[in-house]
């Protein structure tokens, strides 16, 4: 049992440090990046990273337009984390609110909302988000909106079933008995008990939101073409992957690390916070 605890917190610790590192990098990119991410050096295009080319000027090489990949990767954290945080936050807000409403109040409203969720879920998420971007236009804010519109259902479903559970627990029934208002009960009894679950869901949602940003930018529907993003870097790198795969590989690795970190963080939190959900070891 004890080793499980240590392992749980090791997961959390390492993942959180990685997340923190990414946030710091994203925020400080303009100060620590050696080059402007859009600066082109035609004569130095397609260079591989320094351990292959020996050229220390471009640590991780250059892309097809001679832009420094290292700087672009650093800058690429910004759109990803922006969408990750903003998208996850508002998706949580809407999803949790609807989940609580449909779980706590009348069964009929709950059923209607769940029907809506079902229909929503049968929509092809990717196609729908592409259409949304087509409607709203390219841009990070719209990417975040796409995340929110598509993925609020994740929170709604889980929160609803958890609220249904909590509703029958003693402390809620006790609060009702002393005449606490519905809203008060939600605020004081239900929400605090939802927090562990919400934290876990939030980290997972962040990882999904980042995936969406990368995906849309990859398809040219995310950031504006002038802004560096891991997704657009991967797309660009794929165009010449036969000559040099580093152009696509580096941003790919950057994305994979943060996504895995967020997932491990969620997993570690889940193990720590609710013993019921412990994975069979």
């Amino acid at each position: 049992m004890r080793s499980l605890q240590i392992l749980g917190s090791k997961k959390i610790l390492v993942s959180f440090v990685i997340l923190l590192a990414y946030v710091l990098i994203g925020m400080s990119a303009p100060y620590i990046a050696p080059y402007d991410p859009n600066e082109q050096h035609y004569q130095d295009a397609y260079k591989p990273p320094f351990f292959t080319s020996g050229d220390w000027r471009y640590l991780l090489g250059t892309d097809s337009l001679g832009r420094d990949i290292y700087s672009r990767v650093l800058y690429g954290a910004r759109p990803a984390l922006f969408v990750g945080v903003v998208g996850a936050f508002f998706a949580a807000l809407i999803g949790v609110s609807l989940g609580i409403i449909s779980g706590y109040y009348s069964v009929r409203i709950g059923e209607v909302i769940m029907r809506l969720v079902d229909i929503w879920l049968s929509l092809p998420a990717v196609v729908f988000s592409i259409c949304l971007i087509a409607v709203l236009g390219i841009g990070l804010g719209n990417v975040a909106i796409a995340v929110i519109v598509i993925d609020w259902t994740r929170f709604a479903r889980v929160v609803r079933s958890e609220v249904l559970n909590l509703k029958e627990r003693e402390f809620v029934l006790a609060a009702k008995a002393i005449g606490m208002s519905g809203f008060g009960i939600i605020r004081k009894e239900i929400l605090p008990n939802l927090l562990p679950l919400l934290t876990v869901l939030f980290t997972l949602e962040m990882s999904i939101a980042i995936s969406v940003e990368v995906l849309l930018s990859f398809a040219g529907l995310g950031v504006k073409p002038t802004e560096p993003s891991w997704g657009s870097m991967i797309a660009e790198g794929l165009t010449y992957f036969r000559t040099s795969f580093w152009g696509a590989c580096i941003p790919l690795i950057a994305v994979i690390i943060i996504i895995l970190a967020l997932n491990y963080l969620g997993d570690g939190l889940r193990e720590r916070m609710d013993p019921r959900l412990l994975v069979i070891r």
């Binding site: 092809p124 409607v135 794929l238 895995l260």
Partner: protein, 336 residues
């Protein structure tokens, strides 16, 4: 017939879902900035001509008339005419549909087979190293989104190792008569082994990329459900009867363990289908995914709306199939 009413209820729910989807598809593009007519014409065309084009496309009719036309068209399987391709939208979509279906079905088959095998191995070696490795691999397979796997495979197998093709459905040099438009099936039907090999190698990477997430989920679900079931009393009964262990595991326990796996496959289907869009983009796969990207760009409304409806239809049909399979396997469920 109890089973009959269940079937009807599910079908009605499915049809209602489709209506909801069709409506959303319709509404979405009527609030669009970006006039399809203008996109189709060269700049400098006179305003009246653009207006005439719009009228001919039915875009200047009042909204509710357009909606009614759209819905009634749907019921006659008329999705309208593509603005760009000068053909009925449905035909345009159906031409490319087999490619997407082949990809999606291949992914589901690969995921089920591999997921079950790895799940069974994990159960038999529970707690040992191979199980721990499988579980970690599952975690990674599940966490990383399918399109990133797609890119990774292109880089590794196409760029680094140069083992497998990463573009298209088949070697363009091979000539194959399109009968069903399913490359694999057509190759088998025409007994063309070169075509079969080529279509399979082209299918491998994209469908594997799509399948990885599902493999991980199947592995995890099967493992935990089988481990629970093996502790059940009825398994003890079977052991006390002296039945062979392989029979107890693969027949008696497995049928029980497969049920939650089936449920989870149903849930994940829409994600597989959604992921296929970008995978098609990465692998140059000529399916409705790439068609949707192109059509959205061109504001080819009938095609886009049609694709949204078709995607939902596929999801709903596969879900229904999974549900019915579930009722066949689980005798406790015979009505909704």
């Amino acid at each position: 017939m109890i089973r009959g009413t269940y079937v009807i209820k599910r079908l009605v729910a499915a049809v209602l879902s489709l209506f909801g989807v069709a409506t959303i598809a319709f509404v979405l593009f009527r609030i669009v900035p970006g006039d399809p007519a203008r996109l189709m014409t060269a700049p400098g065309i006179k305003a009246e001509d653009i207006e005439r084009l719009r009228a001919s496309l039915g875009l200047s009719d009042p909204l509710h008339i357009q909606y009614v036309n759209w819905l009634s068209g749907l019921m006659h399987l008329d999705f309208g005419r593509s603005y760009w391709l000068k053909a009925p939208a449905l035909d345009v979509i159906l031409e490319r549909l087999p490619a997407t279906l082949e990809l999606v079905f291949a992914s589901i088959i690969i995921a089920t087979v591999l997921g079950v095998i790895i799940g069974v191995v994990s159960v038999m070696k529970a707690g040992r190293l191979s199980d721990k490795v499988a579980t970690s691999a599952s975690f990674i397979g599940f966490s990383i989104p399918d399109f990133l796997w797609g890119v990774l495979f292109v880089i590794i197998f196409g760029g680094l190792l140069k083992l497998l093709p990463v573009s298209g459905r088949i070697d363009p040099a091979i000539s194959l008569k399109p009968v069903t438009n399913f490359m694999v099936i057509d190759s088998i039907l025409q007994v063309n082994f070169i075509a079969l090999q080529s279509s399979l190698t082209h299918l491998l990477l994209p469908s594997l990329a799509l399948a990885l997430g599902l493999i991980a989920i199947i592995h995890r679900t099967l493992r935990s459900s089988l481990l629970d079931i093996l502790q059940e009393d009825y398994i003890l009964t079977d052991r006390s009867k002296g039945l062979p262990e392989w029979y107890i595991f693969f027949v008696r326990a497995f049928k029980n363990g497969a049920l939650p796996v089936l449920t989870i496959i149903g849930v994940q289907i829409s994600f597989v289908i959604g992921g296929s869009v970008i995978i098609e983009l990465i692998y140059g796969w000529p399916g409705i995914g790439t068609l949707s990207l192109i059509s959205v760009n061109r504001r080819d409304l009938p095609v886009v709306q049609g694709i949204i409806v078709i995607y939902s239809l596929i999801t709903i049909i596969i879900n229904l199939a999974v549900d019915f399979l579930y009722t066949k396997l689980n005798p406790k469920i015979t009505y909704g």
